[in-house]
């Protein structure tokens, strides 16, 4: 038994998300509700006693002893992930880590780091890492009437269809992350899986003009692989999924400045030239 197992745990829960079993134990029962808001989409409570990832959360709060700084401490299995006085940071890191591990361990879905919207029955996928500007593009597309699928992961099934990953958009404002529901931006959240219609490989650059060039679908698949969470764990599944997902998609690459330029381009060209089918 590890030392961490001997600490006093007040409550716990286990859940399943995308086939991945996750366990959580906390020293204060009341934190569980706040945590549940940050679980990955589609989670369901589970009775599993064996989990693939166990989080142990020690919440400092007001009950700490006099003279002891009330740190919040997060463990993933037996590894200490974070020690902080800031509860928001504590919850953010928990959320980020649990979503990543579910994405990495999902059995029947492939998770690509990307923003996704639905437009006229097809998915527009914007693969990219942090600060590539994908959330800004997603937000602008929503304002233009697209339906919201995700600002974090494109979730592909075995047939190559793109599923919604319905978490609120996380937009940076003045150095902080602010969460917005799609409905708050006048958009609807997508429900049905969509075929992949357009892949935008782009990076934000101050003042850049959006002058995209077309990539082949195989180059588009390469751009998706660069952002696929589980590529090293299940390369055959990923490659097969992309082979099904991408053949009918148009792939564009370029740098962008103002998000509106890209969105106007997409809306101008979506029907006539961009989407092949």
């Amino acid at each position: 038994m590890d030392k961490i197992d001997r600490l006093g745990w007040a409550a716990g829960i286990s859940f399943v998300s995308y086939g991945v079993r996750v366990g959580i134990r906390v020293n204060k029962r009341e934190i569980l509700d706040q945590l549940a808001e940050r679980f990955p989409p589609g989670w369901k409570p589970s009775r599993a006693r064996v989990v693939e990832r166990l989080y142990s959360l020690i919440v400092g709060g007001e009950g700490a002893r006099l003279g002891v700084r009330p740190f919040n401490i997060l463990y993933g299995n037996v590894e200490k992930l974070l020690r902080t006085l800031d509860l928001d940071e504590f919850l953010d890191v928990f959320e980020s880590d649990v979503k990543l591990h579910v994405a990495a361990g999902a059995r029947r879905r492939v998770f690509v780091h990307a923003g996704v919207v639905g437009w006229r029955g097809q998915a527009i996928v914007i693969p990219g890492r942090s600060f590539s500007g994908k959330t800004t593009l997603v937000a602008e597309l929503l304002r233009a009437g697209a339906s919201y699928y995700s600002d974090e992961y494109a979730v592909l099934d075995g047939n190559g269809l793109v599923h919604p990953y319905p978490r609120p958009l996380s937009i940076r404002e003045n150095g902080k992350r602010v969460k917005y529901r799609a409905e708050m931006m006048g958009a609807k959240s997508g429900v049905t899986p969509l075929p992949l219609g357009l892949v935008i490989v782009s990076r934000y650059k101050v003042g850049a003009r959006w002058r995209p060039r077309s990539l082949s679908v195989a180059e588009g698949a390469l751009a998706m692989i660069e952002n696929t969470v589980s590529i090293q764990r299940q390369p055959e599944t990923v490659v097969e999924t992309l082979q099904r997902a991408i053949p009918n998609a148009t792939v564009l690459k370029g740098t962008h400045g103002e998000a509106k330029q890209v969105v106007d381009f997409i809306l101008d060209h979506f029907d006539s030239t961009v989407i092949k089918h």
Binding site: G76, L81, L82, T84, D86, D88, E89, D92, V93, S96, D97, L100, H101, A104, H113, R129, S130, F131, E152, R172, G175, K176, R177, S216, V217, A218, E219, A221, L222, A223, I225, E226, N227, T228, V229, S230, I231, Q232, R233, P235, E236, V239, E240, L242, Q243, I246, P247
Partner: protein
């Protein structure tokens, strides 16, 4: 076995590769090196003919039939160089001394645009953490990166830490 000037004819590596065709191009994932490669149509045609039996001259003829234009051996060697670099052949194939290495630009100038130049584009497959968003925005300000899997320190504007 036929040989090109005392060395075996090129043979495509078969082991530990995941290969899928996408609209005439090839997507190849190297399980040993965790790298993904995209072979354009010309490179794919050459690679498929790397069977240890087909000579460079025969590969030229295959490309000529596919493109309807004359193909120089330099084009095949340009492809083979890339396959060698990316470990896509069973054994390294060395150019004969009298076949000079050309840059992509020089090759285009030499053969023109009638034949598409064989190209292999590659990316390194990310680890789980490298594909993650290191975007907790460094809530503690300047200092050590707080995101699991993201290393280094928080710096720059906006503050961020890299994987």
């Amino acid at each position: 076995m036929t040989e090109i000037r005392n060395q075996p004819l090129p043979r495509a590596r078969q082991e530990r590769l995941v290969v899928r065709e996408l609209s005439g191009e090839l997507l190849v994932y190297d399980l040993d090196r965790n790298k993904a490669h995209c072979l354009n149509q010309t490179a794919a045609l050459v690679w498929k003919r790397c069977d240890g039996q087909t000579s460079i001259a025969e590969m030229c003829r295959v490309l000529e039939q596919a493109t309807g234009a004359p193909v120089e051996e330099q084009v095949i060697w340009f492809a083979l160089d890339q396959f060698t670099r990316d470990h896509l052949l069973e054994k390294r194939v060395n150019r004969p001394a009298d076949v000079h290495r050309l840059s992509r630009r020089a090759l285009i100038q030499r053969v023109g645009l009638a034949v598409s130049i064989p190209l292999v584009v590659s990316v390194v497959a990310p680890t789980v953490f490298a594909s993650a968003s290191c975007t907790q925005l460094c809530p503690g300000g300047l200092g050590q990166c707080a995101v699991p899997g993201c290393q280094g320190s928080c710096s720059g504007i906006p503050l961020t830490c890299g994987p």
